[in-house]
């Protein structure tokens, strides 16, 4: 696929890295900063062009004429939208994806359509991250919660503790333990290494267990792995930017929310926007402020500014001062590994969240969701099976019969509106099923894509 990416920021360069690794993609990256581009060019096999990505001449020189897809990821909504408009009007680019951050644009469904501004898919990293954090607060014991099939199936990561009922037992005893609850352990990470979750496998304390289950069964299953944390009541958010503001607006309906914001102007805007949440003006790393606002009785402290270092330090401070659980937004991959070893409970990497959503649009073979798991070493994919047993490689076959690439497993199937089937070796896949797969080797992703492509496109 011939893809033009606008913007080589954190999201842009991560997407470019992911896509350039796949043989079949030809990538051109446009940015106004030559230094970032040179660095990217050295590292990856792609073409870079320096300049303003919404200018027709520049898009033309990037080969917009025969591009299959434009992904506009600059930090300006307006440039992204205009770039899509230009690509559509002048170059007839088939697929246009734009990153739109401002809720002002997001809340008007008619705005981004073929008749007005031709954006085929928009992604809003802020909304995605907000939703991601919201899930984590809903399930206080989980490390990561990912939606499949519009939230009917969820993938949850939990850290097993001694107080979990299943800990120290073999996986196959699970079904006896919780009759009526069908679940599937998809992956287990022990000391950072992935281990194959076979029936004989014993869950140990401190394992990171990834399991899939229907949404309503999630708390039951978590309780097998560890004692359930008390439901969260009080939340403190440090940083009231786009993410902080949106998150506060969602959370304030169910929880007691405090938002710390450093800039008076933004603080006033937040006050106007929020009803019951308390907006505090001040520095999130100011111990006096934290003490005054009862940091020790906070269930969750989230650092959400756009400064990695500030987030890490204020979360560490909050943890030290008694917050039960701290989460921090961290952009730099190297920092994530550094702090997750203990200082901070959960590190949230915004671009990893975003890339998952983006990849779903880019993958062929009707892949609807792609999620990178916490360590980035594995990926979970939701794909729709089309066609019939003669044109498709998967439809009409039981899981045993499907030739899956090595390191890939089918974990669950969502059929129709309601039915969630946890995959067993004899489960037969039907047309239009949503199939949820796990890959421990990302290089195999093209093979999975091919598997789900129908008939004549498969040669």
């Amino acid at each position: 696929m011939n893809i033009i990416i606008l913007g080589a920021g954190q999201v842009g360069s991560s997407v470019a890295t992911q896509l350039a690794r796949e043989e079949s993609n030809e990538i051109t990256v446009i940015d106004i900063n030559q230094d970032i581009l040179s660095e990217l060019q050295d590292r990856l096999d792609l073409r870079t062009i320096c300049g303003n990505g919404s200018y027709p001449a520049l898009l033309e020189s990037a080969g917009a004429d025969d591009a299959d897809m434009l992904i506009a990821l600059t930090n300006s909504d307006e440039i992204n939208m205009i770039a899509c408009q230009v690509a559509s009007s002048l170059f007839h680019t088939p697929t246009k994806i734009a990153r739109i951050r401002s809720p002002e644009y997001l809340n008007r469904p008619g705005l981004l359509s073929d008749d007005s501004i031709p954006v085929d898919f928009m992604i809003s990293p802020e909304s995605l991250v907000t939703e991601y954090i919201h899930h984590l607060i809903e399930h206080p014991s989980a490390l990561q919660v990912l939606d499949f099939a519009n939230g009917r199936v969820q993938l949850v990561a939990v850290k097993a503790y001694h107080d979990g009922l299943m800990v120290g037992r073999k996986l196959k005893t699970m079904s006896e333990h919780v009759p009526g609850v069908d679940m599937r352990v998809a992956a287990i990470f022990r000391d950072g290494e992935s281990i194959q979750p076979s029936a004989e496998c014993v869950i140990e304390a401190d394992d990171e267990v990834y399991f899939l289950a229907a949404r309503e069964h999630i708390p039951t299953v978590i309780s097998e792995m560890r004692k359930l944390d008390k439901p969260i009541k009080r939340v403190m958010l440090a940083g009231g930017g786009n993410i902080g503001g949106q998150l506060a607006a969602i959370l304030e309906k169910e929880y007691q929310v405090k938002v710390i914001e450093a800039y008076p102007k933004r603080a006033r805007e937040l006050c106007a926007m929020l009803d019951s949440a308390i907006v505090l003006l001040g520095d999130a790393a100011d111990p006096d402020l934290l003490v005054e606002e009862n940091i020790e009785s906070m269930d969750v402290f989230c650092a959400l500014t756009n400064d990695d270092e500030a987030n890490i330090l204020s979360s560490m401070l909050a943890k030290r001062m008694g917050a039960k659980k701290v989460m921090s937004l961290i952009n730099r991959g190297a920092y994530v590994d550094l702090v997750e070893s203990g200082l901070i409970d959960i590190a949230i990497s915004p671009h990893q969240v975003t890339i998952g959503a983006l990849l779903a649009h880019i993958r062929r073979g009707d892949v609807v969701a792609v999620h990178a798991l916490r360590r980035g070493s594995a990926e979970a994919i939701e794909a729709i099976a089309h066609g019939d047993s003669s044109s498709s490689k998967v439809v009409g076959r039981s899981i045993d019969q499907i030739k899956l690439p090595e390191g890939t497993r089918i974990s669950a199937i969502v059929r129709g509106e309601e039915e969630v089937i946890i995959a067993h070796h004899d489960t037969v896949i039907e047309s239009e099923d949503h199939v949820i797969l796990f890959l421990t080797d990302k290089k195999k992703i093209t093979e999975v894509e091919k598997l789900f492509q129908v008939g004549f496109t498969y040669f």
Partner: protein, 483 residues
């Protein structure tokens, strides 16, 4: 340094390039010239060395880093340059020595076109086509070819590509994938070669000569299948065809690519380097033709124009074909032509020399310094076309220029120390460093009669010129080898 990875790639490249010995074998068999055995033996040697390098480390698959790229390119050019001398040596033609065989093969690969063989007309066909093929492979770059045909070089390919392609700015990819870029370049190269061969053939060359000469014309090489070079044909049509194709091959291939894709000639007209390139050659032609006329070197005006134009283009683009004995032309003309060869072809072309774009930049930089003297506070940027160039490119060009002249000065001294006279030493260095071919004085016709040490020095000069000095020179810095 990832030596094992480098060894793997080197082995692989040698295996792949052993196949380039097949065409001479086919030609030799079809002409029945009885000189096929040296090539067969050489293939075996190539394969044995290639496999013994490759097999022990075949599982070493890592991305090449910047430094590895330099080492692979230099090693490959050196190893292949020396190894390609093997068939020539084994052929035993005119009791050729090892030094001479290697000189001949390096001269071929680097598209220099300086020869040590006298009596080329009597060589077997297989050896003739082999010399021409070497030039053709070296023209667009053997590494670029490797990148095009070996997809597994991946990102590492870019490092190799950069170390081999000529010109100051090397990040301009024609297509997003390096393999596709390399392929596009080779398609254009192939297209030019085929049209050139057809044109020669229609103008009256034999099929064999047409193909042979198209190889060395488009590669801006200069080898011929005759001692008298293009002059052998004594045909104005052939001279004109050669002029056109030498000119085309001296142009940046990226420009050809854009022009073909847009199906328009505008890109040429807009390109500052192209305009300068044509301008310089035109100006020098006018001076040359005028001076030839003034001295009545040729009997007719038409002869002066054709011979003058041909020789200027041939030497200015660093091809090195000859029709007349230009080294005996009157007055300053021979030296003027050698000077023009320092300018050479455009960046990204098959030509040698310093490259037009660098000269253009130096001139503009000089003009900027003059302007600064008049307006000390002025902010002036150096622009090419309408785009300002980053300062580091200009600095790099200065560095290159200085290194180029330091190297040539040093080599002239060394050659004189081996006993060559000044004219011969200067022209031999210019001819080899610029990948031109013929020089003046003792090396006016060929390089057969100079001493062996001088030949080795000139081999180094040819490699330095083809790899644009820094790629090779960087290996001699201690920092390169430090971990």
């Amino acid at each position: 340094m990832q030596l094992l990875v480098i060894q793997r790639i080197l082995g692989l490249l040698l295996i792949v390039f052993s196949s380039t010995l097949l065409p001479p074998i086919i030609v030799g068999l079809s002409y029945g010239d009885g000189a096929v055995m040296p090539f067969v033996e050489s293939i075996v040697v190539f394969l044995v060395i290639g496999f013994s390098l490759y097999i022990p480390v075949r599982k070493q698959k890592k991305e090449l880093r910047l430094r590895d790229g330099f080492l692979v390119v230099v090693l490959f050019w050196t190893v292949l340059g020396i190894a390609s001398g093997l068939p020539i040596y084994l052929s035993g033609i005119y009791e050729i020595s090892i030094t001479d065989s290697i000189f001949e093969s390096i001269s071929g690969l680097t598209t220099t076109g300086a020869t040590v063989i006298v009596g080329i007309d009597r060589l077997p066909h297989s050896l003739l086509i082999y010399r021409q093929e070497l030039q053709w492979l070296g023209g667009m770059g053997i590494i670029v070819l490797a990148v095009a045909v070996l997809p597994m070089l991946g990102v590492g390919g870019m490092q190799l590509f950069r170390a081999e392609t000529p010109g100051p700015v090397k990040d301009n990819k024609l297509t997003p994938r390096i393999t596709e870029t390399a392929k596009a370049l080779w398609y254009i190269y192939l297209g030019l070669t085929i049209s050139c061969a057809l044109a020669y053939w229609l103008a009256g060359m034999s099929g064999f000569d047409a193909v042979s000469h198209s190889f060395s014309t488009v590669a801006i090489g200069g080898f011929s299948t005759h001692d008298a070079s293009i002059g052998y044909f004594n045909n104005t049509g052939i001279q004109l065809i050669a002029i056109v194709f030498m000119l085309l091959s001296g142009v940046n291939f990226a420009l050809h690519f854009i022009a073909i894709r847009k199906r328009s000639l505008n890109p040429y007209q807009r390109d500052a380097e192209f305009r300068t390139y044509i301008g310089v050659l035109l100006a020098v032609s006018v001076v040359t033709i005028g001076y030839l006329q003034l001295n009545h070197t040729f009997d007719s005006t038409t002869d002066s124009i054709i011979e003058g134009l041909f020789q200027v283009v041939s030497i200015g683009t660093t091809t090195g074909f000859t029709t007349a004995e230009y080294y005996s032309w009157p007055g300053f003309l021979p030296v003027l032509l050698l000077y023009v060869s320092f300018i050479g072809g455009c960046s990204g072309s098959t030509g040698g020399g310093i490259k037009v774009i660098r000269i253009l930049l130096l001139v503009k930089q000089g003009a900027r310094e003059l302007k600064r003297l008049i307006h000390p506070n002025a902010q002036i940027v150096v622009k090419i076309g309408k785009k300002p160039l980053p300062e580091n490119v200009i600095e790099a060009v200065w560095g290159f220029f200085a290194a180029y002249f330091a190297i040539s000065a040093l080599m002239i001294l060394l050659l004189m120390a081996t006993g060559l006279n000044q004219e011969t030493a200067f022209s031999a260095v210019a001819a080899c460093l610029n990948n031109l071919g013929p020089g003046l004085g003792e090396v006016g016709q060929n390089f057969a009669y100079i001493n062996d040490p001088a030949k080795w020095i000139l081999c180094l000069a040819m490699l330095l010129g083809r790899l644009e000095i820094f790629t090779l020179l960087v290996l001699f810095t201690p920092a390169f080898w430090r971990k």
